[in-house]
């Protein structure tokens, strides 16, 4: 397998793996936040703020993979 086909096979798989990882993370974050809101509805604003921050951190990992794909895709 030469460099180009290895890259062509690897890039989509890499994106998918990154998406699986941050999907699991986002699921956990949403789960925790929803339970917390259900327990304490009056703290909704604070919980949502923290949830958005952490969700952005988890989601950023997929974005890094995405940017890497766009940087590498001209080389295929």
């Amino acid at each position: 397998m030469d460099f180009h086909s290895a890259l062509g096979l690897g890039l989509p798989v890499g994106i998918g793996l990154a998406a699986i990882g941050s999907g699991i993370g986002l699921g956990g974050i949403g789960n925790g936040a929803m339970q917390a809101i259900g327990r304490q509805p009056e703290a909704t604003a604070k919980i949502q703020l923290a949830m958005i921050i952490i969700a952005a951190l988890a989601e950023a990992l997929t974005i890094y993979a995405f940017v890497t794909m766009f940087l590498l895709s001209p080389k295929i």
Binding site: I52, A56, Y64, V67, P74
Partner: protein, 437 residues
């Protein structure tokens, strides 16, 4: 015209020489930029020493010992300064040093001339009506534009001629990412050989971001001009937005530090939101879908956060913070470990901020392009000038949602970075437990 005039000259010179040195360093060569900055710094120190000498010699108590002492110190400083000037002349290219040396003098002369000009009656007549003033400003700008483009060694022409930049631009254009047509690509297609169109294509992102900034300025002007107790529609919208942003940011930073940072963070939010949404207008382009813009925004936040830390904590407090705020023996022992971690964390912040915003906006644009292309291709009859609007309901909504969310995330993370830099006695170590990046 007194000492206050000199202070203003000094501030203007600092800005002018700093920006000029950065430009020269990035476009011509770092050595020349250094020479320019060194020349300007030398000249400023020279001016301030002379100023000290003169105030010491002409003050009323010039016979006292302290005063003579000050004068002697200034003279000694001047001697050292001239020696270092000779060393600089030997080390760095002389013409650029002289250019840097001349910057404060030029600033002084132009400030004096403009002060004289502002006092004349013709100027007052000119600026009495805003329309006449705007006309004159446009005329001056147009004349300057013509003069610059008529110059033979015009800087943008030199940039085009530079071989490496040109080669990389050419290869970049060949494999340009697919996208919706914008005003700029239409211009390029209709007039491929005009010189100014090439310039517009090169600085497309810059052009769009400046246009957005201009639009926001105009909106702010019309919303705040003759504000009323019972607001009109525009004032109402803007006031609601500003109040919500104020409450939001003060809610995070606390009532003591919050209000000071509202203008910066609120502007960041509104500007990024406008830039994200601008790409959804047909024939327009999101500037944030380019890494250059997002890196610039993230670097602004980075510098501002470090400056905030230095200002609010002081220099020792800042380094104490970088060492992980050690309090007892164990944490002091851990500082060699904590220092690189904290420095890396600080440096990772702008990278993650810029890549996140760029990736989201760019990905959103690519998604819309992919589905619009699919909509065109899935029609049985090709060569139609339209396609099925596959991207319309779902993905456009997703794009709007994600634009707002990303602007919010950028602002919230910047706020949290500032919060981490503020002295947090009342937060204890909660602030540390917050996500660092």
């Amino acid at each position: 015209m007194g000492l206050e005039f000199l202070v203003r000259v000094r501030n203007t010179t600092l800005w002018l020489a700093g920006v000029g040195a950065l430009l020269v360093a990035s476009y011509l060569s770092p050595r020349l930029g250094l020479a320019l900055a060194a020349g300007a710094a030398w000249s400023l120190v020279n001016l301030s020493l002379i100023e000290r000498l003169i105030t010491a010699l002409t003050s009323r108590e010039r016979v006292t010992f302290a005063c003579r002492n000050r004068a002697a110190l200034a003279i000694a400083g001047l001697v050292v300064l001239f020696a270092s000037g000779a060393a600089l002349l030997a080390l760095l290219p002389a013409p650029w040093l002289m250019a840097g040396f001349g910057v404060p003098l030029v600033v002084m002369v132009s400030k004096a001339v403009s002060a004289l000009l502002l006092m004349t009656g013709a100027w007052a007549r000119l600026t009495k009506s805003p329309w006449r003033a705007a006309l004159v400003a446009i005329a001056i700008g147009g004349l300057a534009w013509l003069a610059v483009s008529a110059l033979p060694g015009h800087p943008s022409a030199a940039l085009h001629a530079a071989p490496p930049a040109h080669a990389s631009a050419a290869t970049h254009e060949e494999q340009k990412a697919p996208g919706f047509p914008t005003v700029v690509t239409l211009l390029e297609a209709t007039m491929p050989h005009a010189g100014w169109v090439a310039w517009v294509v090169k600085d497309e992102v810059l052009l769009f971001s400046m246009l957005i900034a201009l639009l926001l300025c105009v909106a702010a002007y019309f919303a705040s001009r003759n504000a009323k107790m019972i607001p009109g529609p525009l004032q109402n919208v803007v006031e609601t937005l500003v109040e919500k942003l104020y409450d939001f940011i003060v809610g995070i930073l606390g009532p003591r530090y919050g209000p000071r940072y509202v203008p910066f963070l609120g502007t960041l939010f509104i500007y990024i939101l406008a830039m994200n949404l601008f790409g959804l207008i047909p024939f327009m382009h999101s500037p944030t879908a380019s890494l250059n813009v997002t890196v610039a925004l993230a670097l602004t936040v980075f510098v501002y956060v470090q400056y905030t830390g230095l200002r609010e904590l002081g220099v020792p407090g800042y380094f104490h913070h970088l060492l992980g705020s050690p309090r007892d023996v164990t944490s002091w022992l851990l500082t060699p470990l904590m220092l690189p971690i904290h420095i890396l964390g600080e440096l990772a912040k702008p990278i993650s901020l810029s890549c996140r915003l760029f990736g989201n906006v760019f990905g959103e644009d690519m998604l819309l392009v992919a589905f619009a292309t699919l909509g065109v291709m899935c029609l049985p009859v090709k060569q139609l000038p339209f396609g099925l609007p596959l991207q319309f309901p779902l993905f456009l909504g997703l794009a709007i949602f994600s634009s707002v969310l990303q602007a919010l995330v950028f602002t919230v993370l910047s706020t949290v970075y500032i919060l981490l830099m503020l002295p947090h006695e009342e937060h204890g170590h909660e602030g540390e437990a917050h996500p660092a990046h």
